[in-house]
């Protein structure tokens, strides 16, 4: 699938199109790391001790979007996310230990254990917040963009939203205002076809989903969300536009969630989607695809891959050790910090 924009975009720079071997490896490494973190969560979550006791929404299969977007961003740029925030958080540089500690309900978690996996944020990394109520973080991202504009900064805010969030009126209110005010906001819609177990066709009428951006006068494009290069090109263009004061963009990225909506397992057995559909999307795995491309291009070989895996495995093991060993928050502190 290719990038189709509604605007006469200035041609992408060469460097946008081919990021070079090292940068490509970094992209791949970032996707691999997210995949491995989440697979490790999935492995440990059901363990008998049940130490991660909060709902988890894994992004396995959707990593290319977060990674492709984040590579275009600076630390002072912000992202806002939703219930399925792990990949967004990690790709933007969110601290892995603080994330896992949060899943374990520990004081060292990014929320001190108060939020759980749907509230990830990392101020230093530019992950403004994640919110569990569908659509709620969308206007908040627009508000961050408004702040940038008011402050005369050239930072941008990427707003991750699922296909279902387009059904919430607040998306439209937010998009209208962002477009009206030419705010540096990028609406990054991850269409994984489902809201929980309900297919898009049972929630929205047939029409191009990208019209949701166009209707508000935003330059809008539709990309293959499992193609990290395609995502990067679209976001690069949107970021340029936003930094240049030329307003918000809408990017629709097709992808697929592999595991169950909420929890560590697979849920195709429920029957809400077919094994064939699942298999077809697994074929289109963004991680495997990039691995293939890098191998073919001679950038990645088995040794290098093994080295990367080892480094990530070590980091993950250490982060889990940290989270498991970390202290719980003091029960007496539960009522602190209601007011600033």
């Amino acid at each position: 699938m290719t990038v189709q924009t509604t605007t006469a975009a200035r041609p992408a720079k060469d460097s946008d199109i081919d990021p070079g071997p090292e940068a490509s490896l970094r992209l791949y490494g970032s996707m691999l790391r997210i995949r491995m973190v989440e697979e490790e969560i999935a492995t440990r979550y059901p363990a008998e001790e049940q130490k991660m006791r909060c709902p988890v929404h894994l992004s396995v299969g959707q990593e290319a979007i977060a990674v492709g977007a984040s590579v275009c961003l600076r630390p002072d740029d912000q992202v806002v996310s939703n219930h399925r925030c792990h990949a967004h958080y990690l790709a933007k540089g969110g601290d892995l230990k603080a994330m896992l500690a949060e899943l374990y309900g520990k004081a060292a978690g990014c929320c001190g254990g108060r939020g759980g996996s749907m509230h990830l944020f990392d101020t230093a990394a530019g992950v403004l917040l994640s919110l569990p109520v569908v659509g709620s973080s969308i206007p908040i991202g627009v508000g961050a963009a408004l702040a940038f504009k008011q402050q005369g900064r050239d930072s941008v805010c990427v707003i991750y939203l699922g296909d279902a969030a387009l059904e919430e009126g607040v998306y439209h209110e937010s998009a209208n205002f962002a477009a009206l005010q030419d705010l540096p906001a990028i609406f990054m819609c991850e269409n994984n076809l489902y809201s929980v177990y309900t297919h898009l066709r049972d929630r929205q009428p047939p029409r191009p989903l990208v019209d949701m951006g166009r209707a508000h006068g935003m330059p809008s494009c539709h990309v293959d969300g499992n193609d990290v290069g395609a995502v990067t090109r679209a976001v690069t263009e949107a970021v340029d536009r936003a930094r240049g004061g030329r307003g918000p963009s809408f990017i629709l990225a097709d992808t697929y969630r592999w595991r169950e909506h909420c929890g560590p397992f697979y849920d195709n057995d429920l029957g809400y989607r077919s094994e064939a559909e699942f298999a077809a999307w697994r074929e289109r795995d963004g991680l495997a695809r990039m691995r293939g491309q890098l191998s073919e291009a001679g950038i990645l070989d088995a040794d290098r891959e093994a080295g990367m895996v080892q480094t990530i495995e070590d980091e993950i093991a250490e982060a889990f050790d940290f989270a498991e060993a970390a202290a719980f928050p003091d029960a007496k502190s539960a009522g602190d910090g209601v007011y600033a």
Binding site: R53, C54, P55, G105, K106, G109, C111, G112, G113, R114, G115, G116, M118, H119, L131, P132, V133, V134, G135, A164, A165, E167, E168, G169, V170, S195, V196, Y197, T198, D202, R203, Q204, L270, G271, Y272, F328, P329, D330, A331, S333, A334, G335, V338
Partner: protein, 360 residues
């Protein structure tokens, strides 16, 4: 009334909805997930297959708009049942609930009716966190024109859901997530429970405890434990939070002279405030001690189980409150507290209490 059987509240709800769809052609069900394989914690499982997608309507993720849609359909004579998997999501639809649903009958001088039921689930446990666990009954119970119901036993889940569907007013039914699991006697076939006031759940002489929803079981456990300590508590299941029928509670307090309220929501500004204020005004001369209110402390729900454990009031706290209102014999309160703790069988506080099984 037909023979009782033991089923859980989720099954009781499913059965009630099935009967409603069979009995009344105007009834339909809508909500995010009503027709999906998990069917709102099992409470709507199989209904789409049986009654068809026209009667069991899968909903876009548009809580405000679809509440308005339900109201519009109700105004035209349909009887929609709308479900939210969490009370918190219904916060998007407050304008429609407070303005359109609550006021249509009044503002048209009785010409319009909004026979709408909105089921909302109160989350608890497993690290739900601050935005998936709110219990906002007091907020809804503030608004004239709405009816607010909180069932406790499986029998009442079924009867009150059918009663709510029969009612010609907008009825909000708040269901505690943990109560879906409790089991109890539920008659087969159709019966409906009118939305007409509190239910006396246990008789007693020494103190009146008014509890709602899941807290009814905590209160009953405390009462049981206190009975061993020679104190008999009268326990009311508040059930219908609006319109509030306080006469039976008033009569009880006139007898016991002592009142404790136990909310599933925040204590400040909770249902207990209204009950205590009203009963104090009407039974002042009978009060032997100041009424006490239990409810959630004044902060959002923390996710971590290390923090959430103490967040929820339970039977031990109720025993504590009773101890403050009347003289219990030497060591009696402590014994009662121990009985309460023992009854939990060591299950972590972020998991439903396995002891809350029927028959009730």
């Amino acid at each position: 009334m037909p023979e009782p059987r033991t089923i859980n509240a989720a099954e009781a709800l499913r059965e009630a909805m099935d009967l409603a769809l069979e009995r009344w052609p105007d009834v339909f069900l809508m909500g995010e997930g009503v027709a999906d394989p998990k069917g709102i914690f099992g409470t709507t499982a199989g209904l789409a297959d049986k009654h068809g997608r026209a009667r069991v309507v899968e909903m876009p993720v548009s809580e405000n708009g679809l509440t308005g849609v339900a109201i519009g359909a109700a105004l035209m004579g349909r009887r929609p049942v709308l479900v939210h998997q969490r009370v918190d999501f219904a916060l998007l639809s407050i304008e429609q609930l407070f303005n359109s649903a609550a006021k249509s009958h009044y503002v048209t001088a009785g010409r319009h009716r909004v026979p709408l039921v909105v089921r909302m689930v109160i989350g608890r446990g497993w690290g739900q966190g601050p935005q998936h666990s709110q219990s906002l009954e007091a907020m809804f119970a503030h608004v004239p024109g709405l009816k607010v119901v909180m069932p406790s036993t499986p029998r009442e889940f079924k009867g009150l859901l059918l009663g709510a569907i029969e009612d010609d007013n907008p009825v909000l039914m708040l269901e505690h997530r943990w109560l879906h699991y409790i089991t109890g006697d539920v008659p087969e076939g159709f019966y409906s429970t009118p939305l007409d006031g509190p239910r006396l759940a246990r008789e007693g002489q020494d103190v009146t405890i008014v509890a709602s929803s899941y807290m009814v079981f905590e209160a009953l456990r405390a009462a049981e434990a206190l009975a061993g300590a020679g104190c008999t508590a009268e326990v009311f299941d508040l059930r219908i939070l609006r319109p509030l029928a306080l006469d039976p509670i008033l009569a009880s307090v006139q007898k016991t002279g002592r009142l404790i309220t136990v909310d599933t929501g925040w204590r400040i500004g909770g249902m207990g405030a209204e009950i205590v204020a009203e009963i104090t005004e009407r039974a002042f001369a009978h009060l032997k001690a100041p009424p006490r209110r239990l409810g959630l402390p004044d902060h959002p729900t923390p996710s971590s189980r290390a923090l959430a454990a103490a967040y929820y009031p339970g039977s031990v706290d109720i025993v504590d409150a009773v101890e403050q209102l009347l003289e219990l014999g030497q060591g009696a309160a402590e014994t009662a507290r121990q009985a309460c703790v023992a009854a939990r069988q060591g299950v972590p506080m972020d998991k439903p209490d396995p002891a809350f099984k029927g028959p009730f």
